[in-house]
Assembly symmetry: C2
Homo-oligomer: 563 residues x 2
């Protein structure tokens, strides 16, 4: 079945569950009127459904490939990219001064979800570019902004993030790429980078690499790292792509999925680069880019889950066997839980985006803290739901799910990268329980207050659901106190299950709001989430409390099978 962008569900959430109204009420985002929002969602949905979704299989069957040192994209990807660029979708929330539309991130996140659901491998290109736009807006000097932002926003050029090196995975501080001043105000960058998404392509005219490298006087570790803009073609005096820079694509990775997205090994061989932000301040700029991308990746999970669920439901509905297998209790159980989790993950992601917008518009530190807290949850839970639902989609298809032609397997292979990139979900969980709870858990407790207030408010209308949400929040509060009081290693050992439990309570909270504001079907879906998904918290919270000692005590030999 063809993907249909979930415009109605997103519109309902932005209307009633995580309303955009408070964002649109700010001076900064006054243009985000209900009419504008409706027009944008509908137009982006149409493009995703009609233009991008038909390209999804092409990328899988005909991966991007390297020919004479240049990447040749999958069939139709150039046209798909052009549609995204021409629609103005890349710069939807970018600064109007440089050609952006200046609209809320929330809208951008919603639109990105629809593009990713239609064609994940292609959507990665604008996603990375948007991260680069954000980094430049915050950290580049005016000349660089003037030169690069309009091109990135228009899609004439695209942006990449060059972080990982062969010898250093998540340990960025170990990087060995060097940057040497060349006496002309610029630098010469030398080193190899891996996992560079869309590191080269033929969909537009230039690729702009943001590269982390160490200056000669850079300290060891992350403190000595600087960020450089290293374009594939050096802009000439008119800002047009000119001389080729000294960099090349060494090879493309052979991956489990997202075959349409060229994942490059890049070699910088004295390539010319421009410093972005101050010397040795590279990590701050990179974090700006990564944080934006983390929420985006969470929504990629939601996106593929939506697509996989639609296909599985359509398949189950069409199967003649024993009537429609969608009426088969176990199949219906899987589909219903999947739908309930997709709603929860989408609402969490949009709530995170809403907090980002309010932070931008009001500079209220509470909004900043809220967005920071929700980001790892949105990333990790969204991508886990993506994998869970895509996996369920394969299962609902039975034997046909394992055959590549149905596309169910592609969703699973494609989405499987999302819990890994932009910081593995394990790293998100560490971020949550260490950095984001370094306030003594204050932000967590405020969110729990909000959730319990919501449950109290719903008590009269739907006492059973409200009670279950209240209880789950109360149990989570107790677990939060335990986490806060635990030593760091115990906390790290419990981080992932704790994050999962927090996500479900948030999801139940948004479901409860949806049940109150929505129709009968919304109430039923909320009840399914609370009855069938939320109780999984018992298992996760038991593990969150279990600490480190038993893991530490298990001899290493046990893992290798010699227990």
């Amino acid at each position: 079945m063809a993907y249909r962008a979930p415009v109605e569900d997103i519109a309902f959430i932005l209307q009633s569950v995580v309303p955009l109204a408070p964002v649109a009420a700010t001076a900064r985002f006054a243009e985000a009127t209900p009419d504008t929002v409706a027009a944008i969602l509908s137009e982006a949905g149409r493009m995703a459904t009609e233009v991008l979704a038909p390209l999804n299989r092409n990328g899988d069957l005909t991966p991007a490939r390297l020919e004479n040192g240049a990447v040749r994209s999958s069939p139709g990807y150039a046209e798909g990219f052009a549609a995204i660029a021409e629609g103005g979708w890349i710069g939807l929330s970018a600064d109007p001064e440089h050609g952006g539309a200046g609209l809320p991130q929330t809208l951008n996140v919603a639109v990105s979800e629809m593009m990713a659901g239609a064609c994940l491998a292609l959507q990665l290109n604008p996603l990375l570019t948007q991260g680069q736009i954000e980094a430049l807006q915050h950290h580049a000097d005016e000349a660089m902004k003037q030169l690069y932002l309009p091109k990135l926003i228009s899609g004439e050029w695209n942006g990449t993030m060059n972080l990982t090196e062969p010898q250093a995975g998540s340990d960025v501080g170990a990087l060995s790429t060097r940057a040497e001043p060349d006496g002309e105000g610029t630098y010469r960058i030398t080193g190899q980078k891996i996992f560079i998404t869309w590191g080269d392509s033929d969909v537009n005219e230039n690729t702009c690499h943001l590269v982390l490298a160490r200056l000669p006087d850079g300290a060891r570790g992350t403190r000595g790292i600087s960020l450089f803009m290293v374009p594939k073609y050096l802009p000439d005096e008119n800002g047009r792509p000119g001389v080729a820079n000294s960099l090349k694509v060494v090879s493309l990775e052979h991956k489990m999925g997202i075959h349409g997205s060229p994942t490059c090994v890049m070699s910088f061989e004295g390539a010319r680069g421009w410093l972005v932000g101050g010397e040795h301040k590279g990590m701050a700029a990179m974090f700006t880019m990564m944080n934006a991308a983390r929420l985006g990746v969470g929504m990629q999970g939601v996106a593929v889950a939506e697509a996989a669920l639609q296909q599985a439901a359509a398949y189950a509905g069409e199967r003649a066997q024993m009537g429609s297998i969608a009426r088969h209790p176990d199949v219906r159980r899987m589909l219903a839980c999947g739908r309930a989790e997709v709603f929860a993950a989408r609402a969490i992601g949009l709530a995170c985006a809403q907090a980002l917008d309010l932070a931008t518009a009001t500079s209220d530190p509470e909004c900043t803290a809220r967005a920071a807290f929700l980001t790892p949850i949105a990333k990790s839970y969204g991508t886990d739901v993506g994998c869970r639902v895509a996996d369920m989609g394969v299962q609902v298809h039975g034997g046909m799910g394992y055959i590549e032609e149905t596309g169910a397997a592609q969703y699973l292979r494609d989405v499987r990268i999302t819990p890994i990139y932009e910081g593995t979900n394990g790293i998100q969980a560490i971020d949550l329980v260490l950095r984001k709870m370094s306030d003594g858990g204050e932000m967590a407790f405020r969110l729990l207050d909000e959730i319990m207030d919501g449950a109290k408010a719903a008590q009269g209308e739907m006492p059973d659901l409200a009670r279950a949400v209240w209880d789950a929040a109360e149990t989570l509060r107790e677990a939060t106190v335990t986490m806060i009081e635990s030593g760091q290693t115990d906390r790290l050992a419990g981080a992932m299950p704790y994050l999962n439990a927090f996500a479900r309570v948030l999801g139940a909270h948004y479901h409860l709001i949806a049940a109150r504001k929505g129709d009968e079907a919304r109430k039923r879906l909320a009840s399914i989430f609370v009855t069938r998904v939320l109780p999984r918290n018992a298992g996760d919270l038991a593990e969150a409390r279990a600490g480190w000692a038993d893991l530490d005590a298990l001899p290493d030999a046990a893992f290798a099978g010699a227990a």
Copy 2:
């Protein structure tokens, strides 16, 4: 890292947890002395590790392919198959009268696990052949046994199971393949079959298809189905492959994994076949074959989990980043839970095999009922653990896990078929709560008694673990009563989570025995299972009790995203 067959773990389970001793104490299996068992495990382990494991990647990179109507196997597969055949592993538990070794199924299951862990795609060939041997032993006449069994046992020929048709997935009764008597005591078979594993190959000299088809007077539905032996080459008067039969491989499926296993679309075009068992008795014979295969598939899940876990642990141990990442709490948590689940699934599978052997040796209906009850649990839980641990293996590798060259992704792609074939796990759950509990839950209660007795016996030695296992069994007993008292649709809706919960209680039971009988590491692993895995039962049992009404009430439109 190269796969190392888990000989020690299997030997420990057969020694102390699910002892083989009661099986070896029967007249039927008196040859299964401790020395013989040790020799067999060690020899099979050596072959798996040294001969089969090196072939695993070949199948993925160079899939089996169809050339001029014949299947050409992946490089090295013919040699690997020859090693399996020459080792006598195909007929390890087959009837000695026809060349088998007549040893317990339990040993066969253990050996099969090691072969599957080394090279799943290749192991499917003997697995299917073993199912066919079993079906012929029970249902064929003497002449057919004399002709086919020695060839199948020696590996000169192999066996397939032709069940599924394009228009009828799990609904076997809808099949349309016809069988017409040809007046010579044989039949002409006409129809198309899909998903035929190893439906053709060049690893040996003949392929014997057991084909379900309907005789002209066969009733509609499953009652009118008969089973036929349809060899690729008709045996001549000397029992050698002679004239080619009228059947062909139409195409091979392009699958997510197990690329080395040719999955054929078969066309029977008036092919000559011999009736197996009585007219219209095909389903009984096919069930013999499928039941044997179901346990085997469960062990395939365990097998790939073991392989994926070994690789992930080795990778984590080698990673220099932040020291070894195996000391990182979240990574260690994932590896430890994976190891604990692999042990549980393996013990359940071997317990099922033990019950089968005791049933064979003693004809005690209690043993038969026990094996029947444990089969769907072993299949479903084993394969779910397979997917869960292979998925974890990818995650532990981080970005490298998504790159095909590490092999972590192959394990996930390969094992993903196991929850689907030989009856999806949803079908296993239905089998458990309907057929296997049609005794009013008596078998379930007897197993729970045994588990609670075990917990009581452990109380003095390890009170915390014993208490947790006792409580979990008591909670499961209550849920079992609820299931029994529920209407059929409610029971079906709760079947899958109920099965999962039962598997974990069984797993905890075997861990508790291992903790009492084994060393310190065994105690620690048991504690990890009970602390971290068993509590997931709370979520599953909540869902098992949730029934059908809320699923029924959710409008179909909700699945498509229009909720």
